[in-house]
Subunit: 266 residues, 2 copies
Amino acid sequence: MSTFSRIGVFDSGLGGLTVLNAICAANKGLSIVYFGDTARVPYGSRTPETIIRYAEQDVRFLLSKGVEAIVVACGTVSAIALEELRKEFSIPIIGVIEPACDAAAKVTKSKHICVIGTQATVHSHAYSDYINRQYPDMTVSGIGCPLFVPLIENGFREDDPITKMTVERYLSPIRNTDIDTLILGCTHYPFLSGIIHETLPDVRLIDIGVALSEVVGRTLTLPHNISDNFVEYCFSDRETGFKRFDAEHLKDLPNGPIKSINIESF
Amino acid sequence: MSTFSRIGVFDSGLGGLTVLNAICAANKGLSIVYFGDTARVPYGSRTPETIIRYAEQDVRFLLSKGVEAIVVACGTVSAIALEELRKEFSIPIIGVIEPACDAAAKVTKSKHICVIGTQATVHSHAYSDYINRQYPDMTVSGIGCPLFVPLIENGFREDDPITKMTVERYLSPIRNTDIDTLILGCTHYPFLSGIIHETLPDVRLIDIGVALSEVVGRTLTLPHNISDNFVEYCFSDRETGFKRFDAEHLKDLPNGPIKSINIESF
């Protein structure tokens, strides 16, 4: 079994950094190229054709950097484009759907799981297709929350009354149902996990970054002789300004060079 | 003086349709190619370099359709890229800054104007540079309202409590100042003009689409023998779903073919 020491991680923008953070916290000795497509964020309101085209370019860019495996740190791309990417490219490609569903299936007692995500993710039925196949005794609901990413990307914190009211709007329909497990199906959403927990105190939250980082450690044989991670941060437009965000979800990110690339040329 | 009968109008998405509507209401006999860059919307949170690159591609696409003049129906592109576009392309290119400022200067009594727009627009100082040059006795303030476009694009209506609270957040600092004229410096904002007027009842609102449509009629010699407009609607991803919106700001849009194009190839 070969050792994977150089992996690529990509997302449309800021959200994938929560996944990268979880990967870095759980694994050592990795050389990681992170790509955030900040010139074309958000993906979640676009059509499947466009999302697939963008994802293919993102993967080609990471391949040009010599990565040996790829983590799709984007809920929308994982839901829409994973099969196409796996058909087209021969290296291992890990998405968030399967780890998130497996983690949710493990903890739910009521066997009723809800997924929140972008419009594209919820419309794709990717989560329910996987759960229906793997766990046919479970029920899956889905809620699109299209304003969460713009709120986060524009610096609205989770204690802001506008954020609170938006969370209440999207999630109050879940209250007093038998849903006991909620998959945060977009890598931005951990930034709102505090207020989501306040809104739904009896519901277990599944952070897809944490679920996925465990799979990375299990799926890829990582080198044991290096104790640090090295990350190169690449963006198609501005770097995301992630340093201004609450450190909790990003505190394990190592420093590293920040580069600007033209994604349309890939 | 030549007659311009075929013009191009472009925006990052839905907003430019409010400009197109105003142009169609005020002018007849035009053949218009509209382009909405829905694969890359929003522009307003990107860097000037990226906005200029996108705008150049947008213009090249419209030129390929044989247009004789171009209306930049996007506040962000007008603020960031207009000079570069005029240097690079030889046909007339009309933006929203100058018409909007002229319209505001005409009605302000306090000589204190405020511009609201995307972050990129406000940071560009394009409005204040023009007003300082043309109307040196006037003062210009600016407020970035980055959540307005996502609210509109995601179907939040202006009577929604979340919309109201966001408008109040951004605009309450203007209340009880000597600002008497507010330029809605983004072509999306007419969709919020009702609630903005409620929030600031004593302030005159300048709709940049209306201001610009008058300039189009004055600048371009239009044919007189045709009484209808013909519009071809082109989008880089999904069409904007504009038909689900309040008809008031879009009621003069003629029906026309809707086409899908790959903007990255221009």
